[in-house]
Symmetry: C2
Subunit: 346 residues, 2 copies
């Protein structure tokens, strides 16, 4: 639907209930601000100083096993600790706090220091999906862990401090803000329609075919109508699954395949290793019924115009709400023009 293609408008995010300001007429603004380093560095397959390469020793003093596929371990500098502190609540006038406990893990995607997801084979990405599934199941079944956040920060621009292909999992007692927002909207829709909000949205998107980036038998990748980041995208399972623990072997492979497709398009867009943060939103693990949940993986990439110019979410965005210049439809069209073969392999 092209109603507002050339004029400022707000779009509604059906999953969070929040609005985003879209200014399609503003793409021609010249940029005299900060440019980032274009990370074209070619890395070795093994780096003796990398704390994630097989056999190397880590900051915490431990030694990595000589792993062949994927490998996970507990973060040496975890933001969350397993132990409850002495006190669990503070309420002093208008000051309010609670203790928080959890488990933080690092997930190595490959022993090969030089790779990234788009450069890995589908069968090797499938091992990553398998490990995410295992961790979600195990951490989720751990007493006191009520939510499991799987994510990846890719690239120095996204605060990643080690280029070895890896992601993280922070799992914790409380259910985080962003997850609560989505839970509410999934639930409202379910109670009214006894259907998955995201399932119905997916059907509509497949019908419209304006923002679809890739699809296979089990998954669809698309730019959501309410995308915030310039090339934000979302991978949604066609089946109404609440969490990745429900995927069978064939679906795990299909998930890996579509991750490779999407991230390859990303790299091809500006012929650079495309930075992003990705994360899987899925049902909490506190034992309650969440049949309304529909798990999905989102990608928030900051680059806007080139390999070196990103979108800044600053003043207006911090104090009012998110703003974007190119529309979701333009972003989808730009990505859909690109080859499915990685530019380094063409």
């Amino acid at each position: 639907n092209t109603a507002f293609n050339n004029s400022p408008h707000r779009r509604y995010n059906i999953l969070t209930g929040e609005w985003i300001l879209v200014s399609p007429h503003r793409t021609k603004r010249p940029w005299q601000g900060k440019t980032e380093k274009n990370n074209q560095e070619k890395r070795e397959t093994y780096d003796p100083s990398c704390y994630l390469c097989p056999g190397n020793s880590r900051a915490g003093g431990e030694t990595n096993p000589d792993y062949k596929g994927v490998h996970s371990f507990e973060n040496d500098y975890p933001a969350l600790l397993r132990e409850e502190p002495g006190q669990s609540n503070l309420e002093d006038g208008l000051l309010k706090a609670e203790s928080e406990t959890g488990i933080c893990k690092v997930v190595c995607f490959s022993p090969d220091h030089s790779l990234t997801l788009p450069l890995m084979k589908v069968e090797d990405i499938t091992k990553v999906v398998g490990l995410w599934k295992k961790e979600y199941n195990e951490l989720g079944a751990t007493a006191g862990i009520n939510y499991v956040q799987i994510f990846e920060n890719k690239g120095a621009m996204m605060g990643c401090s080690n280029p070895h292909p890896h992601g993280q999992i922070w799992s914790q007692k409380s259910i985080p803000t962003e997850v609560l927002k989505k839970s509410k909207h999934f639930k409202d829709y379910w109670q009214k329609n006894k259907r998955s909000l995201l399932g119905d949205y997916l059907e509509q998107e497949l019908e419209l075919d304006e923002r679809i980036l890739a699809k296979n038998e089990h998954f669809v990748a698309l730019i959501p109508y309410w995308a915030v980041w310039p090339y934000e995208a979302m991978i949604v399972p066609r089946n109404h699954y609440q969490h990745i623990g429900q995927l069978n072997a064939e679906e795990e492979k299909a998930f890996a395949e579509i991750i490779k497709k999407l991230t390859t398009k990303y790299d091809n867009l500006f012929e650079t290793s495309f930075p992003y943060s990705s994360g899987i939103h899925q049902m909490p693990t506190n034992g309650e019924n969440y049949e309304e949940w529909h798990f999905h993986m989102s990608f928030y990439p900051p680059l806007l115009r080139s390999a070196t110019v990103k979108k800044f979410m600053v003043g207006y965005e911090m104090f009012a709400g998110p703003q974007r210049d190119i529309t979701a439809e333009q972003a989808a069209a730009n990505l859909n023009e690109l080859s499915d073969v990685h530019y380094l392999k063409q």
Copy 2:
């Protein structure tokens, strides 16, 4: 209150109803990631290529007047336009959008290209406060403008594309997400207590004296208990004012004075021109009664450990919620150790 000084906990933001994860034990984590450029460049007082200097011509083709104090004009590349497009609403299945209209302005703080707020005289910052007040009153009185967002992006790190001292004002038809959140919490408290939420919080902070950074007869600067950014701070008027239009001449000067104090401490922290986004949250201008509102100015600075290492709000923060390492109390203590005289003038 030091209950959780050394263990992970969540703090509650009484203005937004959201939580922030605090990991005080994690400050010792080594940093091998991205470092920023330390912007130590000394600028000329006039730059012939700057589109904000007096007398120069702008991108839109206009010429700046030979202004002496402050100067505002409509943005040449506005994110919002005054004209209503043909259609005003879209509701198509699960796609939902609305047209948005507004007025975007640029506010030059000084004709002197080399300055920043902490380097300006209090009497010159008072002129900036005066112009904010005038713009808030005029834009707020304009038909179809229901909210006025005053903000500054300072430094290239915060997406600022021109170092000439300036801020922006985006004013618009709809009331933005962040403002709605605060409106709700101000109102809930007002209905229960017939008192200002922020006024009562300020009283408690003055009593505790753990997070106060500066104060004068009319304003207090402090690190809020629920601060997200490492050195996030807030300037609150002691009087229960809904908007800056209510300030008298003496209060305008007191506001300018405390802005200078806070931003001077910021620059002194890492002896650099401290980047931040700042913004004033105040009552909407849609003609409704907002007696519960208490205006305040917030500063969100990204630097964490030094002039070149910032906090990244990425994976976990985007998908779950904000996280910080140093506590608000540590941040306040670090700032309170510093001189009130700018390091360049010592």
